[in-house]
Every structure is written in structure tokens, then in C-alpha cells.
Symmetry: C2
Subunit: 433 residues, 2 copies
Amino acid sequence: MVKKESIGIGLMGLGVIGGEVARVLAARAEVLGGQIGCPLVLRKVKVLEADLARPQAKEMGLELFTTDAEEFFSQDMDIVVEAIGGEQPAFDYLKRALSSGRHVVTSNKEVIAKHGVELFALAQQHGVGLHYEASVGGGIPLIAPFQQDLVANKISGIYAIINGTTNYILTLMAKEGADFPSALARAQKLGYAEADPRNDIEGIDAVYKLAILASLAFHCRVQPQDIHCEGISRMNNRDFRYAQELGFAIKLLAIAKQTDNQIEVRVHPVFIPEESLLAKVDGVYNAILVQGDLVGRVLFFGEGAGASATSSAVVSDVVSAAQDVIAGGGSRAKWVLEPGKSIRPMAELETRYYLRLNVADQPGVLAQVSKALGDHMISISSVIQKAVDSAAQTAEIVIMTHPAKEAEMQQALDELGKLASVKEIGNFIRVED
Amino acid sequence: MVKKESIGIGLMGLGVIGGEVARVLAARAEVLGGQIGCPLVLRKVKVLEADLARPQAKEMGLELFTTDAEEFFSQDMDIVVEAIGGEQPAFDYLKRALSSGRHVVTSNKEVIAKHGVELFALAQQHGVGLHYEASVGGGIPLIAPFQQDLVANKISGIYAIINGTTNYILTLMAKEGADFPSALARAQKLGYAEADPRNDIEGIDAVYKLAILASLAFHCRVQPQDIHCEGISRMNNRDFRYAQELGFAIKLLAIAKQTDNQIEVRVHPVFIPEESLLAKVDGVYNAILVQGDLVGRVLFFGEGAGASATSSAVVSDVVSAAQDVIAGGGSRAKWVLEPGKSIRPMAELETRYYLRLNVADQPGVLAQVSKALGDHMISISSVIQKAVDSAAQTAEIVIMTHPAKEAEMQQALDELGKLASVKEIGNFIRVED
């Protein structure tokens, strides 16, 4: 136990999250101090020049702020809270904070996903903790449960809706029949999607978060580039109608599975049974289903983003870090790495597929399509055929397959694309039962 | 930091949970030791004479066992795991363990709900920890999230399905139209309900769990006797049919709310909107919805009972306790008590009500009923009237009220019961929107 008069905090960034963290630390000072045993004191806030004009900065008192990293790091601080976001300069600042013996709290998913291993090594070397509960799922407890509550389990699977923007868009498409561009526009208008929405809609944000969760759950290093990633921009409202007809919902899932020492990690749209709990998670909400050998299925649900929810996680990490400071023994959160784990190539995936084809409305087409699939050992479980456009003499065929190999499916798709009778491969979506 | 060659564990009880905990501690020894930094060693198991005949006891080696509490407590143990259950002798053993400086892990909801305050004081006095994650919600992380992840929040509400037995029975009644006795019999046959099911079906088990959660969430002492409790035995399958017609599900909810410093705590059947997430929690599963000012709504879902799920929580607590032992600074889990909180009397509750009456099939009855309600300022939001038994000349009236005071409703029910035209008050169920 270390006797402390107070715990010194340095905050980097006064944006949406940093501003809310500063507010909560002040508003809850008494309760938080009671939990820790001594007060938390905000010593310095590192900001950009432009932030000094913010009303909050003026209210807090400008002497609390600096734009100079040297000045910031020279303060007497036990804990550095990073709320800048993005890879740089956040990564450099985090290294500097850890190297100078400060405990670190961050909500930065990109840095943790890309550089977590290096940062953890630095933290261990300097006897301090690296806390990142806010990096995944906003205020939903996820990191702590994996580090603590589920520690006795062998985790076999994670199935997660961890990007609120895409879930909002998919919900609009499913419930209101919106097409993708108009659903995206609405999400942007409401502030759920950014002006440049690629990070969300292409699945990159979900990839960062899955890399963090899978690394933690499976005790290994999963990097963003290990994760197969497809976004939602190719979704069409026709797919939602067929999904409904077939008893499925369409969600962008982040999936991580472990079988023996092989790890499967992927982010892409999937068909999931409409009666499953994840299918019922609508709008900007997140939900993370974890399968453990002892605990069975547990699901965590809540707001996955937003200043309030994220600051809930950041401040709880600050309290944990402060308790570590007082305990004087470094961090108790370990990132255990087990040897012998490998990433399973996407080509080896075996799953069912939904396939929507635009074909010539003439005899024998279905036979050609099913032959192309059959040549790759893909058997059909059900078919829906509807005339779409009698003027163009095209029809739409929707196929659900039995479980098939991804590599075979990709080859079959290539061959289907070359058939004269197949006008267009409308979409193909994997099924997760 | 305390240098330890190993952490000594004493286990009390080798029943369903104790047996599984012993199995997991052995099977996961390596991973758990890695998390802690030194091995966990099971030093002694306190059992009853009859347990010595269990195959597991023989496999583990009989020298590990004792039936003598004196011998048990004389061992070199850092952590005592209590898996006996029930109030006594468990309570005495827990006091003895804490008083002798051992960290304690327990799954005993009854002892924590009734005697938590005393046990926490003992733990603090002796510089050790009291861990009870397994006492509520099986393996679902709940205690740790309240103690840690949600610590920055003001919690305003908890809405919980925390008894799997009753949820299973209600699910059967809702989905299959089963009546209460046959649904209970089926739950008993499957081992989901005990031969004497009162603890579950009368809501007592849920009361213990809610007392624990509410105390933790609201930083105060909520005792079982503070909680208004009604079980599910008066539920009739007619109520489920009407609920469906009206767009509701019926669940046994444990509800805790905090407004200013007033705390409302109750366990009883409720109508909840069928599109709410809790309405979709079926079978033996548990789900706990928490409303915090920062985090918004978070929901935790999973298996709320069973040896595996419970042992997942017990073993994670053992790891936390072991980390506390090594940190050498007592427990970091604090039970903060804030002054000035009071329990709101049930009579002051204001909510909507569902009311099912069996009335004489004659003119003017509805007028009499609505007058009796109106006399108590209870206004009707909708009415369904159906002829049930033309031979007996009775009809069934189902009423949904606007929000009304509980005290007024109870008086109105009294008066309705005295009306000659009201043959029977079929049921009344509160609504939670």
C-alpha cells in the first residue's frame, strides 16, 4: 500500500470524450474519491491550440491547459488519460506516458488493436497498467469481464454487433425498406455516421474492436490484418426482403471462434436466425455474445458509443488505475499469451451461403447454376425463383446452400459470373446459425 | 506485493457447486496460476460424513477431506471458498474464515442478502476481501460490473429476471398455454424446480438477489424484508392470453429504482411490453437490465444457475482474491454506504395495472366496476369484455388502468371484492412500461 494524499491525473484531449471525462471527474469527485480512498485531482490537460477557445476550457480555468507535450509530461501525474483518438500522435504519447511510469487509460481502439502488444510490454516493464475498457463497446463492460469474470473459461466464440453506425443503417433497411444510400444519409444527418463514413461502413472500426476482444479472449495476438473484413455497402433492400422470407435477419457481425488452437476471425454481413437474441438488437445499440465452456452463452448489451457511455468506461478505468497506484504493485490486468495459436485462413471457412442471382428468364438456367455449384461440392438447401423484369426477360434466383467451403464458394462465384445466363451476382451473404 | 510460493485454498462443501469448483481449479490450474503469478493449491475440503462416499472425493484423495471444522480452519489457507449454501452453518463459517484473516469467496445469496453488512465489516476489520459474484446470476458478470465498470454512474434502475425456475414456468405458460400446476410439474421433472419449490415460485430467491444488487448499486443497505414480494403461483393461463392480446409479456421481475434518495424495491409478476428485450428472455435464462446516467441501458444475459456457470463466477472470484493476497493490501472491493437513503413504502408506488374480473353477465356491472375504481382516482385506459360462461351467466372483464397509486388500488380491489356483481377478482398485475 502506498500512502497518497491524492492521485494526479493528466488528460490528453478535450474533444467529445475528453470533455465528458473532465466533467464526470469533477461532478463525481466525492463518490470516486470514496471508492479509491483519496481524491482524484486533474493536474493538466493537453489540448490543441483551437481547444483553448472552448467554453469548457474557460470554465475549467485556462491555467489547467497546455498545448505543449513537454510541459504536460513534466507534471506530477500518476495516471494519463488519452482521449485524442487515431493512431498518431496518440501512440507516441501513450508510449511516453508508460515509459515515464504513468498508468494509462485510453479509449483508443486503433492504437490498442495495432500496437497493444508493444504497449503492454512497455507497461509491464515499467510496472504500470494499461486500461482500455472504453476501446470496445462504449460503456458496456467487456474488457474487465474477459480479464476477470470469465477468466476460468475456455472461450470458444464471440459474436458481436460492435458498430452502432452500421447496425443503425441495417435496421433502417430491414424495418423501413430503405436502400443503402438513403439509410446512410439518414445516419449521417442524425450524427450516427461521419461525413466520411468508410471506417464504419467498411467494417474497419469493427475489425479494430474484434482484434482487441479476440486477443483477450483467446490469449493470443490477433492483429487487424488477420481479420477478414467486408462492409455493408453492397447490401440491397432486396436481400432484406428475402432474409425475412427465409426467417433471417441481416447483421454486420464480428465473429471470433477458437477450435483447438485455430482462431477464426472475420467481420462481414451475415444471415442470423430471426429468433436469435442478436437479431433483436436494433438501432445504434451494440451486443456481444460470448460462448464459454463453463459460463455457457452470456450476452452484453448497451450503447456502444457516445460521450456519456464512453466516459463511464474511461472513469471506471481511472478508478481501477488509481487503486493500482495505491496498491503499489503495478497492474493486475495481465495479457496472457499462450503459444501455438494460429489464424485459420478464410479459404478454409465452412458455412452456409445465401446467394442472389439475376439470370436470364429461360429454360435450363437453374440447371446451369446448380451444376456450377455442384462442381464445387456445394449443395442447395432451398431455392426461391421470382420473375423480376419481364421486359428485360430476367428473373431473380435466391439460393440457400448447405454448408460449403469458402474456397469452393469463391471459385463457384467466379464461374457463375462467367455464365452467359447469369446477368449479375446480386449478392452473397454467409449464414451464421 | 507479497511473495508467495502458492496460494492455499480451503473449500467448504462438495455438492453440485463445490464439486465443480474443485474440478475446475484442478483442470485449469496452469492458466489460473499464470493469471495470478503463482499456483493455487487446494489444501483442505470440509465436507459432511456422507460426502466422503462420493466418487469425486475418492478420486481427489481422502486425505484432502475433513468433516471437522476445527481441523479445517487450522490449515494454512489464504482463501476459504464456501459452497455449502443456506444460512447456517454457512454464516458462522464465513465469520470464522474472515475473523481468522482469510479472504472469502461465496455463492451464498441468502447469507450475503441477510448478513452482508456484518460480513463486510468483519472483512474490513481483518483486511481481507469478501467475494460473492456467484451469489447473483450464476456466471453472468454482475457484482464486478457494479463494483468496477459502472462505478462512475448514478444507477437509477435495475430490472431483472433473476430466477430461472420461475422464468421457465412463465415461458411454458406463455408459449404453450400450460396452466401453472402442470408447468411447475414439468420444471420439477427437468430438475429446474425443486421438490419444495416455494423458495423460487414465491419470489424469495429473487428477493435475496435483488437485496444484494440494490445494496451494491445504490450504496445502501437493502435487506430482504425491505422488498415487497409476490410470487407467480396465482398466474393463470388466461392472463397470458390477455397479455398477448394487449401486446405484453408476463415476467417475474425484480425491480429496484432510485429517485433522489428514495429506493423502491419489489419482486412480483409484471406486464412488460412484448417488444422489450426482457420480454424476449425465455426459459431458464436470466437477464439484468441496468439504467445508469452515463452508460444508459446495459443488459447482461446468461445462464443464471447451474454448476458450471456458478463455478465460472466462483473461480474468477478466487483469482481476484488471490491477486488481493499477492497485492498484500486487503480487498479493493468496497461496499460504500451513503447516508440518507430510505425505502419507499409500497403503498406509494404509482403504476398502471392489469385487472381481470369475473362478473355477473348483467347490465350496469361495468358502471359499478368503473365507479369503484373512479372513487379511488383510478381511470381506465382500456377494457376487454368477453362472455365466458353463459350457463353461469358470468362474463370476464379485463381492465388496463392509467397510472394509479398502489394504496388506492388496494382499497379499490377490496371494494370490488365486496360488490355482489363481482364474482371473483381473477388477477391483478402491475405494468412496467
